[in-house]
Symmetry: C2
Subunit: 191 residues, 2 copies
Amino acid sequence: MTSTREQFIRTTCQLLESQGYHGTGMAQIVEESGAPKGSLYYHFPGGKEELAERAVELAGRSTAEVIRGNLREDLPLPEALRRYVRGIADRVKESGYQSGSPLTATAMETVHGSERLNTACREAFLRIQKAFEEKLVQADFSPQEAGQLAVFLVSAIEGGIMLSRTHHSPEPLQKVADQLDVFFQAYEDQE
Amino acid sequence: MTSTREQFIRTTCQLLESQGYHGTGMAQIVEESGAPKGSLYYHFPGGKEELAERAVELAGRSTAEVIRGNLREDLPLPEALRRYVRGIADRVKESGYQSGSPLTATAMETVHGSERLNTACREAFLRIQKAFEEKLVQADFSPQEAGQLAVFLVSAIEGGIMLSRTHHSPEPLQKVADQLDVFFQAYEDQE
């Protein structure tokens, strides 16, 4: 069951993902969620900022869940990562380049503009990073290496999604997927 | 000499970098550039979109110039890249996390919202990629490898800047710098 409250959060999440925070107005959120306007302020007395905070939190949790669920453990890590990132490229393409990297625009727009959203974005990225760290530790990287590598992974993937969406093409992210495979193979060979 | 026209473009560039496209209003551009409002529409009859298009173009050209000028050729490529990316981390920190990755927010906000700005962002990223490609070819990578690796570099660096700005910390980008060093050393060893 999706409650009205949840529907507002999901709609906001999609709008932040496709066009960013400042480009998303309350009127559009109400229209696209199909709920009465009065109920928006009832559920979110803090208005757009509060709603976006919840949407950023949802985006962080969902992405971390997808990493835990979709990064296969029955394959060697380099190959599992390559497939995982190529899978994102497919989904970005299928969305018509509307989806992918739900946090990036909002994070960049609110580095200084909203302490509340900046904090929410930090926590969301840390959650995503943590999901990668767990997978890396399972694949026998030390906790310290896993921490370093998780930041690198998040950076390369978020940057690759940004380029793929900008170019309306899965290719940049597919190239990132292939290079991460080379990187992790080389890294493991060094050990 | 900085003309009024150039001053408007530079101011817009800084505002897009610190807060994105939709968060930047014409009134703020006029105020921060210190020029009369009438002259803004005289120089840019297409308004904010036209001005942002020129700012995106400037950001692409400037970043490509910085890569050509700052990525040292007297060092092995992995070390040169590490120093280059750590240098960006220093500058992002010095700016109080207001600067770094001038195109990302605007690119993500305008994937579909403005064909004109989407095209400008694509061209700007290709220009940046090209500058890395040239450096990689000079360091004896084949043109095909250089093309792949340049996309990977741009992705990892842009993503790392985004994380550093979000966390108000140079660390994420410093970690990216160190991992790129490991990656390129391993890549060269494989050859």
